[in-house]
């Protein structure tokens, strides 16, 4: 009797101990920042804190010397001796999480990883490709839980909030001359570099030449305005054949651009108030909404669902399509002739430009190795040529001569439009409560497009909501 009860209590005690052990393990993880500097010394990269900048620099240098001439960081490759200090340490594994490779460019990213690992035998890069739709939720959770990758990709909006919140490590010893100045400076905050430009892209007007020829409509030119686009779209739409003339999502991203194309401002000068509920704002919203149901499918017909527009264009049922140059490779084997042109403007031209960045996590134990990988990813010849060959957005490098091959990399023929569009660009308005602002504007546009709210009222309601968000 007594013995069996003892066994029972023993079991209880053991489990209690296990629980305690699990708890103390948890707290050890939480405090890993403090212990990381000591453990990382063993693995050769002593640059856990930014105070150790010089050491980080040496660490960065180590591998690129092995690669020889192909290395982008020429400034660093002169200091060879430090390679001996990191080489014996051997296997540093860094993790890299990204969104821009998923959905077609996974192999291209792997090619760049392979090139890096060949030049840096001591470093292994583990890639985590995440779909864009889930990416920022996943990243936020990982950062909050202390399990973020050593290095990760960010878009411009999120870069601002992550840098603001101290989640990114300061980069040091980067040779900035290899990057386009405007792109490099976009990721500088208070004189400190928190990210490297990784790629940039813009939005152009795709058009199906075959459908234009069939309808006898002259092809779009860079001097087109909204009026020309509208007239052509109406002629090209043939509902009986389920052919649509135009497609432009009715969303925040298109709205701020259309607003700029009409000469309107999203915010006032000191960004204390939203100002998009204006004459120009109404014009912009009407431009987008007016397409729905006339020359473009409605939401009830499927517009706005994932890949709807891609499939519509690819199946030859869409004459004009407002989308980004990242779609070039997906459309390469479309069974008809197509080309691109700079988007038509209303009173002025304005093309949307997006820049992606890569950053090192502030909690990474391998910051030097991670930075070295990011420099390779953004500016090495392998990365540049891989991106260009795959039409995977554009590399952020300063040397235009290296970009020349892009112009002749296949469909579409008018790749010059990609660079022409850069002459007049508009950047997305960014605030701290970014997602809430986008939701408010998107909801207003959807309601107006469905005819549930008059355009003017939808815009003025959204404007007061966004202004309220500016307060924090």
């Amino acid at each position: 009797m007594k013995r069996s009860s003892a066994v029972g209590w023993l079991a209880v005690g053991c489990t209690a101990l296990t629980v305690l052990a699990a708890c103390s393990q948890g707290s050890a993880t939480a405090g890993s920042n403090s212990s990381s500097s000591s453990s990382s010394t063993e693995s050769g990269s002593t640059a856990a804190s930014s105070a150790d900048a010089s050491t980080a620099d040496a660490g960065t240098t180590a591998g690129s010397t092995a690669g020889g001439s192909g290395s982008p960081s020429t400034a660093a490759s002169s200091s060879a001796p430090s390679s001996s200090s990191s080489a014996p340490a051997g296997n540093t594994t860094i993790t890299y999480m990204d969104f821009s490779a998923s959905g077609g460019h996974e192999k291209d990213l792997q090619k760049i990883v392979d090139g890096f690992q060949k030049e840096n035998p001591g470093i292994t890069v583990k890639v985590q490709n995440v779909a864009y739709a889930d990416y920022f939720t996943k990243l936020q959770t990982a950062v909050a839980g202390g399990t973020a990758a050593d290095a990760f990709e960010l878009d411009y909006q999120n870069f601002i909030s992550y840098a603001d919140n101290g989640a990114l490590a300061e980069l040091s010893g980067v040779d900035r001359s290899v990057y386009r100045t405007s792109l490099y400076d976009a990721f500088t905050m208070d004189g400190k570099q928190f990210g490297l430009p990784e790629s940039f892209s813009d939005v152009v007007l795709f058009y199906n030449k075959t459908l234009f020829a069939k309808a006898g409509v002259p092809l779009p030119t860079s001097s087109w305005t909204w009026a020309d686009e509208k007239a052509a779209a109406q002629k090209l739409t043939d509902k009986s054949a389920k052919v649509w003339g135009d497609y432009q999502p009715i969303t925040y991203n298109e709205f701020y651009k259309a607003l700029a194309q009409s000469g309107g401002q999203f915010f006032n000068a000191d960004k204390s108030e939203a100002t998009f509920s204006s004459q120009q704002g109404t014009e912009a919203a009407d431009w987008l909404i007016g397409k729905s149901g006339t020359v473009m499918p409605t939401v009830a017909e499927g517009a706005g669902t994932p890949d709807f527009d891609t499939n519509l264009f690819k199946s030859g049922k869409l004459a004009m399509w407002h989308t980004g140059i990242w779609m070039f490779s997906a459309m390469a084997d479309a069974p008809f002739d197509w080309d691109v042109v700079v988007e038509p403007g209303n009173t002025t031209k304005a093309s949307a430009m997006f820049a992606n960045t890569v950053a090192v996590s502030a909690s990474s134990k391998n910051q030097a190795a991670a930075q070295k990988w990011l420099q390779y990813l953004t500016a090495s010849d392998t990365a540049v040529s891989t991106r260009l060959a795959a039409s995977w957005e554009l590399p952020p490098i300063a040397d235009d001569a290296k970009l020349a091959t892009y112009l002749k990399a296949g469909k579409p023929a008018n790749r010059k439009a990609v660079f022409d569009a850069l002459e007049k660009t508009v950047l997305a308005p960014v605030i701290t409560n970014q997602q809430e602002m986008q939701d408010d504007v998107n909801d207003a546009l959807t309601a107006a497009a469905a005819g549930r709210t008059p355009v003017d009222k939808a815009l003025s309601d959204a404007q007061s909501k966004v202004t309220a968000l500016l307060g924090g």
Binding site: S4, S5, T15, V19, D164, A450
Partner: protein, 316 residues
């Protein structure tokens, strides 16, 4: 825990026997306690680690301003104050109540009808029981996507049939007035089998001699249902109502997949709002405060139900 007690009644003979034994030997009771705790461990430890610890954590977070990236900042009760002032809070609770108001009667009446029908002797009874239960064990994401297709306004099966019958074809999840009904339809379809199984068990526990006696006394089929079945089924009904209400207040998956809370937030529910606040808007403090608000609401409603049940639940 209270739910388990409210579940269909245990056999009375066993219930009498259990309390008698420990009363006789106190020491034996203590000895058993060790074993009781030991056997509770597999469920108690995860419950403690993954439910109670996070609950206390969320209480702490609810008193802070925290965007998940930076370090939390103490703000006291400010989050609760802001939530109570925000018109969106009332909206998401109203949407949730509207969902429950549509879902609960539908799933209960439907489940009862199926249970009564499948309690009869008939061919293929087991097949029908299994078929109706199948959606219960299917993943919510699969079911929600399926219903999104069925209710597709442009080319879904439902509108196709409605059009053929010359009935109006609603915009379903693309129309703010129909978004919640769409979710209700999908939810009722999925949960029908669960309710049916609970009620079926309740039906089978009703002694058949009661019906025989009533028939001898000349009671009609409706009278037998009204006077015997319903009262003796009330413990099962109570269980279904309590569980459905709690699940109803926590509705999320189907809304997230089918409508995403839209169009224009018209089908946004409490848990959907909690998700948005945490993972999309970076306001974990507000989200935790809303979680506690939801917890209190569910607690109060369940407490009221436990009190009121004495008036209508027949304890066998």
């Amino acid at each position: 825990m209270t739910l388990v007690q409210a579940a269909p009644p245990p056999s009375t003979a066993a219930a009498d026997a259990v309390p008698a034994a420990p009363r006789g030997r106190r020491r034996g009771g203590l000895r058993n306690l060790g074993w009781v705790l030991f056997f509770l461990l597999p469920s108690a430890v995860p419950l403690l680690l993954f439910t109670f610890v996070p609950m206390v954590g969320s209480l702490w977070v609810s008193l802070h301003r925290w965007n998940l990236i930076s370090s939390p900042k103490w703000v006291g009760l400010a989050n609760y104050e802001r939530l109570l002032k925000d018109p969106q809070t009332l909206k998401v609770f109203l949407h949730t109540v509207a969902y429950i108001a549509g879902y609960l009667p539908l799933v209960y009446v439907g489940g009862l009808a199926l249970a009564v029908a499948l309690n009869q002797r008939m061919r293929g009874r087991s097949f029908f029981r299994a078929a109706i239960f199948l959606p219960v064990v299917t993943s919510w994401v699969v079911v929600a996507l399926l219903w999104q297709w069925l209710l597709n306004p442009a080319n879904g099966l439902v509108n196709h049939v409605l059009a053929a019958l010359h009935l109006p074809t609603p915009g379903w999840w693309t129309d703010p007035d129909w978004a919640i009904p769409s979710v209700i339809l999908a939810s009722a379809w999925k949960d029908l089998g669960f309710v049916m199984v609970i009620l079926l068990a309740g039906l089978q526990a009703i002694p058949s001699d009661l019906y025989e006696a009533a028939t001898v006394d000349g009671a009609s089929g409706w009278q037998r249902f009204r006077r015997i079945t319903l009262p003796l089924l009330s413990p099962s009904t109570f269980f279904v109502v309590v569980i459905s209400l709690i699940n109803g207040f926590q509705v999320f998956d189907q809304v997230f997949v089918m409508t995403g809370g839209g169009p224009e937030q018209s089908s946004q529910v409490v848990v959907g709002q909690i998700y948005n606040l945490t993972f999309r808007y970076g306001r974990a403090g507000d989200a935790s405060a809303l979680s506690w608000l939801l917890f209190v609401v569910i607690l109060v409603i369940t407490a009221i139900q436990l009190r009121v049940q004495r008036r209508w639940v027949t304890n066998a």
